[in-house]
């Protein structure tokens, strides 16, 4: 694929890796925000190839992982209703709620469908006027414009049988929460490239100023990730803390204006609970007043949900970069992709799943693979 394959070139990767080895003189801890970057790092073995002094701390950038347990349980309750056709992105289907997941709901007769785009859910609503069609609108800022367009279209078309269960999360507040935590170790950030395609990267200036950490807007292909790391290290070694764009082919400072306009219309900021972390103030989006009619949480009040996280699950610590997946006692034993305790083991972006899938050999414990 053009403009994709070139960024996998092994010779150029070698150059970037060699350069990293040449310039790194001290230990540094860098956090990659986005789950897609985590996936790339583990999948291609980037962390094995960069200098040992560089520690990659995996950030909470997996929207599937951080969707609150309560909301997952609400989704399951709504999907189980006989009058509902529940549409979702594929990765949410095996995320464990307190007792089940969407796959299980489907096997019990729930009408659960995987869609590629939120507009597919709108189409399903159009084609099935007698069904209540609910779309699980999760994601970071990257996915929000798509979800916004879906609700906007539904409103324009007068599709009263369409609604959205919204759980959007925002990156800059997450960075603040991580840096404000007393256990903070992160010295530099790789910002999520496609989040910045939408939002621009001007929002990160105050974070650089306040926390004095380099923030490098980074892409997702192996060369992009290596370059993002390299630029962060160059800054750290020189004692600098600047905002830098390592993904200029897809990101501009001001971001995508039409998308931002739609977002301002459809969503408004709200406090959000991040699974495994807790409530981060003003860290999410919910539907704005003029779109409240399409809010599935209001349309389908499911009452008080008693959530139950596994007491053994340490997803939260993993998501904050406080521990590595294989430092959790349950990793590979009670907790495997087959029997996940938390969302980070289910989502292919989750750090635990990535470690288990691609890295089990590094772990001294023999995984209990069933």
């Amino acid at each position: 694929m053009k403009y994709l394959n070139e960024f996998h070139d092994p010779d150029l990767a070698r150059k970037l890796i060699d350069d990293l080895h040449r310039i790194t003189t001290r230990p540094w801890a860098i956090m990659e925000i986005c789950g897609g970057q985590t996936h790339s790092i583990i999948r291609y073995g980037i962390d094995q190839l960069i200098p040992e002094q560089i520690e990659m701390i995996h950030g909470p950038g997996c929207p599937v992982c951080v969707t609150s347990l309560e909301l997952v349980d609400k989704a399951l309750a709504i999907a189980a209703r006989a009058d509902v056709t529940f549409c979702s992105f594929g990765d949410m289907l095996r995320v464990p709620g307190s007792e089940a997941d969407l796959f299980a709901v489907r096997s019990r007769g729930g009408d659960v469908r995987i869609v590629y785009s939120p507009l597919d859910a709108v189409r399903i609503a159009q084609e099935n006027p007698d069904r209540q069609v609910v779309f699980f609108g999760i994601g970071f800022e990257t996915t929000a414009p798509a979800n916004a367009m879906a609700v906007h279209q539904a409103k324009r078309l007068g599709l009263s049988n369409f609604s959205m269960l919204v759980s959007h999360v925002l990156v800059p507040p997450a960075i603040s929460a991580i840096m404000d935590s007393p256990a903070a170790r992160v010295q530099g950030f790789l910002a999520a490239g496609h989040v910045c395609s939408v939002m621009g990267y001007w929002e990160y200036e105050p974070l650089v100023d306040k926390y004095r950490v380099p923030i490098v807007v980074t892409g997702f292909e192996p060369l992009d990730v290596l370059d993002g790391i390299r630029r962060a290290i160059v800054q750290l070694e020189a004692g600098r803390a600047d905002l830098e764009n390592a993904y200029p082919r897809a990101v501009r400072y001001e971001g995508n204006k039409p998308a931002q306009e739609m977002l301002a219309d459809v969503f408004e900021v709200t406090d959000r609970a991040w699974r495994g972390i807790g409530v981060i103030p003003r860290s999410g989006w919910k539907l704005s007043e003029s779109y409240r009619d399409f809010d599935a949480e209001i349309r389908f009040p499911v009452g008080d949900i008693e959530t139950q996280e596994s007491p053994l699950c340490r997803s939260g610590e993993v998501l904050q970069g406080l521990i590595k997946p294989n430092e959790c006692e349950a990793f590979g034993t009670q907790c495997t992709p087959r029997t996940p305790l938390g969302a980070t083991m289910v989502s292919s972006e989750g750090a635990c799943a990535a470690y288990y899938q691609y890295r089990r050999l590094d772990d001294s414990k023999a995984p209990a693979d069933e």
């Binding site: 694929m1 403009y3 994709l4 150029l12 078309l157 496609h194 998308a259 739609m262």
Partner: protein, 83 residues
Amino acid sequence: MCLGIPGKVIEVYDQSGTKMAKVDFGGITKEVCVAYVPEIEVGEYAIVHVGFAISKLDEKAALETLSLFEQMGVLAEELDTGS
């Protein structure tokens, strides 16, 4: 959050008031909403995430980035031999 890949716009059209495009991803074609990149033209590339173009791909910037990587070893060698 992430999975956005570059594709080439091969057709642009209107669908009930929304700007859409047929995009080619290395032999795979998919219908994509380009309402957020309304100025995009046939032959240009876009970054597509869940069926939406979220950014035009700046081909010049892409080539410059690759060129920077190519230069990397060269510069380092010159610096090393110079010292």
